[in-house]
């Protein structure tokens, strides 16, 4: 059963969620980018804004419409609300040679993700497999994740660096949400097609004035979906490229290593990168100690530090680790790809490295290259 609501219902949804004690997080314009932050009303959405994204490029561009969701992949992902940049792991106190350890109760604010894209929603599903593994459950993630109220949004205007179609993660969300909406615009007033994904989603919709979707509504939605599918900015072919067979000694790795700054932007922007490190410190008297978990990046030189040096010292080895983990070994570890095709790593790379282009080049066997092989 699909429904349609008017534009002012977004405000009502937000108000209802807030009245239930939820902090609503949604896309907002901040510092010339679209990011995610607490919102109190639908006015705070990026009304009339879209993005111009490319390798190493992000610009906000005004549309001439009232669309609230004309953008695609904002500068940040949603992972930091479930996997914070800094998390206190333990607090300990030592006195008279005895150490007492306290595990802080995980902070689990009640939140709603309002306006999460299909790719980012898929990313949550991927992180679930990492942090909710029954053998190793992360306390913070598991305290926050089940309660998150999800209002997902289908993409009408994919970005130039998007390739969710290649990764089978979009552009329209199909599961994992409480409600999924699509902005219907271009024929009079803006309306929202609403799909129910859960009981509590149905309850929220029940509070609003809605009507059942007509055939015309559904057709408009399907056309929007088809248009989005056809306008992906990038492509990562999966069928003819046996990713698992990528040659770790391919000369392309040297080529990308010359461009890569090992800055780690891609890992910060990526919605699925989950690496962290621990930082421990004491107060001046040495009586109280804290250990924090902090985001880390496999691009850092110290990431693989062992006594005597690091295992992956060259930029080449670190880029290769990131790319092969994201697209190949992640599959062995978690039964999914690590990539959702959001394109953030391309947009936010200072030198515009495009992993779809790198994969396309790596897929050409080196021997073919040496022999001056023909077109691929």
């Amino acid at each position: 059963m699909t429904f349609v609501v008017g534009a002012d219902c977004l405000d009502e949804m937000i108000a209802s969620l807030r009245s239930n004690g939820r902090t609503v997080i949604g896309p907002v314009v901040r510092d010339s980018v679209i990011t995610h932050d607490q919102i109190e009303s639908a006015d705070e959405f990026p009304v009339g804004w879209t993005e111009d994204q490319d390798g190493g490029r992000y610009r906000l561009v005004p549309t001439s419409t009232d669309e609230r969701f004309a953008f695609s992949s904002p500068s940040t992902s949603w992972k930091r609300f479930l996997f914070p940049e800094r998390t206190l792991l333990i607090r300990a106190r030592r006195s008279n040679g005895t150490v007492a350890v306290v595990e802080p109760e995980p902070e689990a604010p009640s939140v709603a993700f309002f306006g999460i894209r299909s790719c980012d929603l898929a990313a949550l599903g991927i992180l679930d497999r990492v942090f909710l593994d029954p053998d190793a459950t992360d306390p913070t993630y598991s305290a926050r994740r089940p309660d998150v109220f999800i209002v997902a949004v289908g993409c009408n205007r994919p970005g130039n660096t998007c390739f969710c179609v290649s990764m089978n993660t979009g552009p329209t969300p199909t599961s994992g949400y409480d409600l999924a909406i699509r902005e219907l615009h271009g024929e009079g007033e803006i309306e929202y097609l609403v799909d129910i994904g859960s009981e509590r989603g149905a309850d929220l919709l029940g509070e609003l004035a809605s009507r059942q979707a007509t055939d015309r509504d559904l057709t408009r939605s399907q056309e929007a979906h088809a248009t989005a599918v056809a306008s992906m900015g990038r492509e990562l072919p999966q069928d003819y490229v046996p990713l698992a067979a990528l040659d770790p000694d391919h000369p392309r790795w040297d080529d990308v290593a010359e461009r890569c700054l090992a800055c780690g932007n891609c890992t910060m922007a990526c919605p699925t990168c989950f690496c962290s490190t621990t930082e421990e410190s004491t107060d001046l008297s040495g009586v109280e100690a804290e250990r924090w978990r902090v985001w880390d990046s496999c691009f850092s030189l110290d990431f693989t530090h062992l006594h005597g040096g690091s295992v992956r010292t060259s930029t080449k080895s670190r880029y290769r680790q990131w790319l092969l983990h994201k697209l190949v070994t992640w599959q062995d570890q978690f039964d999914t790809s690590g990539c959702v095709g959001c394109g953030r790593c391309i947009t936010w790379c200072p030198v515009g490295i495009d992993l779809t282009a790198e994969i396309a080049a790596l897929a050409v066997p080196a021997a073919t290259m040496e022999l001056g092989g023909g077109d691929v």
């Binding site: 005895t98 100690a289 496999c298 062992l306 295992v311 062995d332």
Partner: protein
Amino acid sequence: MHLEVADAPSPGPMVPHMYRVLSRRQDLADTVTLALAPVDSQIATPTIGQFNMLWAFGIGEAPISLAGIDEHVVTHTIRGVGAVTNALCGASEGDQIGVRGPYGTGWDLGGATGRDVLVVAGGLGLAPVRPIVARLFARRSEYGRAALLIGARDPESLLYRDELEAWRSRLDIEVEVTVDSAQPSWRGDVGVVTKLIPRAPVDSANTRAFVCGPEVMMRFCAQALVDRGVPPAEVFVSLERNMHCAVGHCGHCQLGSSFVCKDGPVLSWVEAEPLLRIRER
């Protein structure tokens, strides 16, 4: 949307149990053996080849293999190479040290029942295989011929010298020791430990081998074992990587598809060889 989430365990996976130093022995200038007993709560009984994350208050944790398991007492031989390990080496009897674990895959000695057992240890690698030797002696009749090959930098760097003498005096195990360099007063072998492998008195085709030491030593030893006919699936090595969480979440210990903390540290040569073959993997 309905997400099934198991209740997070309490205490969580990052909370250490406090142990007390029962005894401390200075093995070498930079190496110390600590026997630890739980203050209150304790870890599950480790299997041989596993490791614990040892915590030096206010400094951090380091992954250290178990060198001995005796009911609730765990023994670790630690070499001081950084802030954490130096602090652990500086611990005195009675000091409290945090323990998280046990982690990782262990040495599968049980799978060698009825067969010959060959243990090759280099340098500090003698510590993680010490529990293999103990288990072997405890159940000697379950195994065929047994040989222990030990390499060290020089005679002064040999660990567990008293125990070594006791092992050598036994008739039911062949112990060979070689050092990379020595003074003329040393009457033993001089040369790399790989040299001891071709003549070890075991039946190659019916042998399970356990190798532990610096990575370059393990690579050459594993190759020498395979060269003399030990099946690669029967050669086991113990790898080492940077670790913070030891539960497969921090990402630091990855080697190919493996998390060394949970898919290792013990791997068969069949799995380890292709991973180690690629430089800077």
